[in-house]
Amino acid sequence: MKPVLLVDDSPTMLSSMSSILKKAGFACETAGTGEAAVSKVSGGLAPCLVITDYHMPGMHGVDLIGKLRKMAPTRFVPMLVLTTESQPEKRGAAKAAGATGWLVKPVDPTALLQVVKQLVPGA
């Protein structure tokens, strides 16, 4: 099964999300920055889902989604923004960049898994 790509500058968030998804049977790949995520996809990683933070040092989440949408392995992959950001304008920007959904931290694990299973058929 293809892995879920998690992108966040917080090690705690990466660990938390990995634990939840692995417990539900998903494989996970993590990246601490947007640049690292792009590098992984360039290196051959083909995730079934991307979950990214919005505010990160360097490339932020919306830019990352825009770049990933132009890369073949992730062109049609669902992408979620998981963030503390609450401004509607930012939400709209993410949607315009090609995000599939918007999750506000802290996200309930059960709700997260429901969304993931909805977006990844056969998961």
């Binding site: 966040d8 917080s10 090690p11 705690t12 968030m13 660990s15 938390s16 634990s19 939840i20 417990k23 919005y54 505010h55 963030t83 503390t84 950001e85 609450s86 401004q87 509607p88 939400r91 949607k95 995000a99 599939t100 959904g101 918007w102 999750l103 506000v104 931290k105 802290p106 996200v107 309930d108 694990p109 059960t110 709700a111 997260l112 969304v115 909805q118 977006l119």
Partner: protein, 467 residues
């Protein structure tokens, strides 16, 4: 905790013709009361800096950093008290310098205004009588301003400590969150492995196999018993047949003996006839008479022996028949009893095994339900660790705010210092507006608006939205 604080409401309205735009939205001091501005500046600067820091810390920081803020506030209050207790000295004469003091006073008073609007009324009541710090005598001197500048310059050290302490809290909480997650993952792994083992060892397929095997063995035992019983029945019939054959043979022997007996009687009759004929023959028949006597004796002995053998055979047949019947009966009864007991034991064993299997199924169902009961809280705890990232972002925001406070106080200090550096046209209220735009969380905005006395708009956006 806060000893003194300045508010905009207690600063006099300007009457010296200084344009209001120059000072932003804040009030100005009258030219005749410039010395009062010095006192406002000193007291409000020290106190407002401390309360601003406290405002930043009062919601999220642990006791250690709150204590630091308290210490800063205490130091500010003590400093202000010391300055106010000094005797009055000669005042300023430069209008321009006093104008800068006006600006500094307004900027510093802004801190107090922000703080006061965020403090609950009960705390305000508690501090009642200490807020109107502007209403003290005029006529502060340059040394006091220099002292104020020195005090303001010390804030960089405080903000630096504050920044480091908050980074330390972030690192510690991140480390602790990582350790908690690692432990949770470990516990989850062990519980999952244990439950998986239990489930696997007692899976429905395995239980079905066990039941099927038990039923096969039980059926085999019952078949064996049935075959054994059938064979015992055949044996009993064979035994009865043999007994019957024995009786028949015995009766044949007895009939043969009866024949011998009859011949013996006929021989006796014949010998009597010979004796009669020998007597009739006289002397010539004497020899025949002796022979006839001997033959009669022999026939009598044969008859006697025949009767004896008949009696013995009859008695033997009786004995054998009765004993065999009894033995056969006892054996059949014992065998029936044993077979019944074995069958009963087998049934009981089967029932016990079925009960055991049913019990095992109950245990498996319980294990599966407990598995779900354990798994969900574990997963919820894994999700709850996200609070650390939220706290981290809030602490980083506070750190940026503390840096801004330090920079602003440094600008005020520079403006009051010997070089009279202009701090620019940006008012603190504008900085606060800029600060508002840097917030990412709805809670941060709500807290800010509440502190500024603005109507708080609740965040109603969905926490999860699929586009």
């Amino acid at each position: 905790m806060i000893v003194v604080a300045a508010t905009k409401s207690v600063i006099p309205v300007p009457d010296d013709g200084v344009p209001a735009e120059r000072l932003g939205a804040g009030p100005m001091l009258p030219a005749t009361d410039k010395r009062t501005a010095v006192k406002v500046l000193v007291v409000a600067g020290l106190a407002a800096g401390a309360v601003m820091v406290e405002l930043c810390l009062r919601r999220v920081l642990p006791d250690g950093l709150s204590a630091l803020a308290s210490l800063m506030a205490f130091g500010s209050g003590m400093t202000a008290t010391w300055i106010l207790a000094k005797p009055q000295q000669a005042g300023y004469t430069s209008v321009e310098r006093v104008s800068r003091l006006d600006r500094a006073a307004v900027e510093l008073a802004e801190f107090g205004a922000v703080y006061n609007s965020s403090v609950p009324s009960t705390e305000m009541d508690h501090r009642d009588g200490r807020d109107n710090v502007v209403a003290f005598p005029a006529g502060r001197s340059t040394p006091e301003v220099e002292r104020a500048v020195q005090e303001l310059d010390q804030y960089s050290a405080f903000t630096d400590i504050l920044d480091r302490q908050m980074k330390s809290v972030t690192d510690l909480s991140e480390e602790a969150a990582g350790a908690i997650l690692a432990n949770l993952t470990g516990v989850d792994g062990k519980v999952s492995a244990l439950l998986s083992f239990i489930k696997k060892s007692g899976s429905s397929d395995q239980v079905t196999d066990v039941i099927s095997e038990i039923e096969t063995h039980t059926k085999g035992c019952h078949d064996l018993l049935d075959r054994f019983a059938a064979r015992q029945k055949d044996d009993a019939q064979e035994s009865r047949r043999q007994r019957s054959q024995l009786g028949t043979d015995t009766r044949s022997v007895l009939e043969a003996l009866d024949g011998v007996n009859r011949i013996a009687r006929q021989t006796t009759m014949l010998s009597l006839n010979v004796s009669i004929e020998a007597a009739r023959a006289g002397e010539a028949g004497r020899g025949f008479s002796v022979i006839a006597v001997e033959i009669r004796k022999m026939a009598s002995e044969v008859q006697s022996i025949s009767n004896d053998v008949h009696s013995r055979v009859e008695a033997l047949m009786q004995t054998v028949t009765v004993d065999l019947d009894l033995q056969t009966q006892h054996r059949e009864e014992a065998e029936h009893e044993a077979i019944a007991q074995i069958a009963s034991t087998l049934s009981a064993l089967t029932d016990n095994l079925m009960t055991l299997v049913a019990h095992q199924r109950d245990i498996l169902q319980k294990v599966e339900s407990e598995n779900e009961a354990i798994a969900k809280p574990l997963m919820d705890m894994m999700g709850s660790i996200q609070f650390q990232d939220i706290i981290r972002q809030q602490l980083e925001q506070l750190s940026r705010m503390a840096t801004q406070v330090g920079e602003h106080l440094a600008a005020i200090s520079a403006m009051l210092g010997p070089n009279n550096t202009d701090m620019g046209g940006e008012m603190l209220s504008e900085k606060l507006d800029q600060l508002f735009n840097t917030y990412v969380m709805a809670g941060q905005r709500e807290t800010h608006m509440a502190a500024r006395g603005q109507a708080v708009s609740q965040d109603t956006a969905a926490r999860i939205e699929l586009f």
